[in-house]
């Protein structure tokens, strides 16, 4: 099997596993980091403190600005619902985009049910939000703009620096979902006026079930907690801190720093090499914003090729459809629809994503397999004319 779905999740780096294992058993730092009255707990708290500092340093942030959550989905919920609830008296309008992750869209829908109004910006054909379109959507009662850094289906990078500055000029809070970009693209919170950043561990070879929300302290961004309990994480997110998860996420972050920038360049080469195999193939389209795309995510539309059929025809490969599916029905991707693809085109789209453990032979083999299957499916189609 060749794994080509690093945008969905990544395998945990063995070095991360080693660090995590040291926080689980009696001999290790297993204790509750909140139990600081004895050495076990203090040692666990020290591990959490160090991890918090390591993760903060990736954003050039103060460690106290990092709030641990169960992942980017929870971070998005806390950022959007938490901010909206706290600032509802100042305004009830939110701006986001049509191509956001479901965690952002669904949080916005939940707020609509509570009386908020949400503007969902349509991106340009290349998937990027035009600044002018954003500016025109701003109203006097707009309290929050939430735009993702990198799209999970296409890899398209938004100009969040410019968007953050527009938000700041208008006195509007700015949140970005950086689940796909964290530790791959730089964010310096001392330079960029972003207020809230959602990050995840499992996209960077860390464990699933842990993420964080960056919450700016100067000027302070106030939120209403979404999970009540023992007032952990400065009262913003209750629940015993999972030391092993947090330490794992920090180790994964440090490894990203160690591997960068060579790793990203290598992945960009794999993208080129993969696409080179398709130079003779007609009827294909790459859904991307050239010059503004994360190289590890490759969204390709093959005309006349059903994506489920393509996946089933390549049982040795693990890649995904461009569409999100549930067990009962397969719905066309909202992201691809927003950038102008028809339902048919969306059903002809696959997402291939490379990562740290992708080898040259994997790229060549998978390209060959996919190319052959595309040709086989087209040869069976009564509509395909060469």
């Amino acid at each position: 099997m060749i794994y080509l779905d690093y945008a969905a999740t990544t395998p945990v780096d063995p070095k991360v596993v080693t660090q995590m294992q040291s926080c689980l058993t009696l001999e290790g730092d297993f204790a509750n980091p909140a139990s600081k009255t004895y050495a076990f707990g203090m040692n666990a708290a020290l591990r959490v403190d160090q991890a918090r500092a390591d993760i903060a340093s990736m954003l050039n942030a103060d460690p106290r600005e990092i709030i641990f959550t169960s992942g980017a989905t929870e971070s998005n919920n806390l950022a959007i619902k938490g901010l909206a609830e706290f600032h509802a008296k100042n305004g009830q309008h939110i701006i986001t985009s049509m191509t956001e992750h479901k965690a952002v869209l669904d949080s916005c829908l939940a707020l609509e049910k509570r009386g908020f109004t949400v503007t969902y910006l349509r991106p340009e054909k290349d998937g990027r939000i035009a600044l002018q379109v954003l500016k025109e959507a701003i109203r006097p009662d707009t309290i929050l703009i939430s735009i993702m850094y990198v799209n999970n289906e296409t890899g398209v990078i938004q100009d969040i620096d410019a968007i953050a500055n527009v938000a700041k000029q208008h006195g509007i809070y700015f949140h970005t979902d950086a689940a796909q970009s964290f530790a791959k693209l730089p964010i310096d919170v001392q330079q960029m006026p972003v207020d809230l950043i959602s990050i995840a561990s499992h996209k960077i070879y860390g464990p699933k079930g842990i993420g964080a929300l960056y919450v700016r302290r100067k000027p302070r961004v106030r939120l209403v907690e979404q999970i009540s309990g023992g007032k952990h994480e400065q009262g913003l997110r209750s629940g015993t801190l999972p030391t092993h998860q947090i330490v794992g996420m920090a180790e994964a972050t440090k490894l990203m720093q160690e591997h960068a920038p060579g790793e990203q360049e290598q992945i960009a080469l794999w993208r080129q090499l993969f696409l080179k195999s398709f130079s003779e193939v007609i009827g294909m389209h790459i859904n991307e914003a050239p010059e503004h795309n994360l190289p590890n995510i490759l969204s390709i539309t093959f005309e006349h090729v059903d994506n489920e059929a393509l996946m089933a025809g390549c049982p040795e490969l693990a890649f995904s459809a461009g569409s999100a599916c549930t067990s009962a029905a397969i719905a066309p991707s909202h992201v691809l629809a927003a950038i102008g693809l028809s339902n048919v085109q969306a059903n002809n789209t696959v997402r291939i994503s490379f990562g740290r453990f992708t080898r040259k032979q994997d790229v060549l083999t998978s390209a060959e397999m996919i190319k052959n299957e595309v040709a086989r499916i087209r040869a069976m189609s009564p509509l395909w004319q060469v």
Binding site: H304, A312, G313, V344, A379, M380, L383
Partner: protein, 118 residues
């Protein structure tokens, strides 16, 4: 593990009736709306009342390809009279089709019924 069951996957991956027949004695039909749904083309050659060759081309979901392959396997070497009653229900059961892909069985049956009239 496959997303679809073994029967569908096997029919889809290794069809023996995919392709096109040519010649004056080929009976041909198709069903489906290009651009809006899956499309199936069925072809047969009948000699002495017997279907000596059956062939398909299919565009769309793998379940449609699998259903068309299954139908061709079932009708080949049968008389039209005997094969005419092969329909959606038989295809659905034989392939253990998921509910949201029932349209594949309906489409192939539509093409087959049209071909029986030719």
């Amino acid at each position: 593990m496959d997303f679809y069951n073994k029967i569908i996957t096997e029919l889809y991956r290794h069809p023996t009736h995919a392709g096109e027949l040519t010649g004056a004695d080929v009976r041909s039909t198709s069903a489906g709306n290009p651009g809006q749904s899956d499309v199936v083309q069925l072809q047969i050659i009948v000699k002495n009342d017997n279907i000596t060759q059956a062939c398909f081309k299919a565009h769309g979901a793998m379940t449609t390809i699998a259903a068309a392959e299954y139908l061709c396997q079932q009708i080949q070497n049968k008389t039209i009279q005997k094969a005419a009653n092969i329909g959606s229900q038989q295809i659905k059961i034989a392939l253990d089709l998921p509910a949201h892909h029932l349209s594949s069985a309906l489409l192939v049956t539509e093409a087959w019924q049209k071909l029986c009239q030719v």
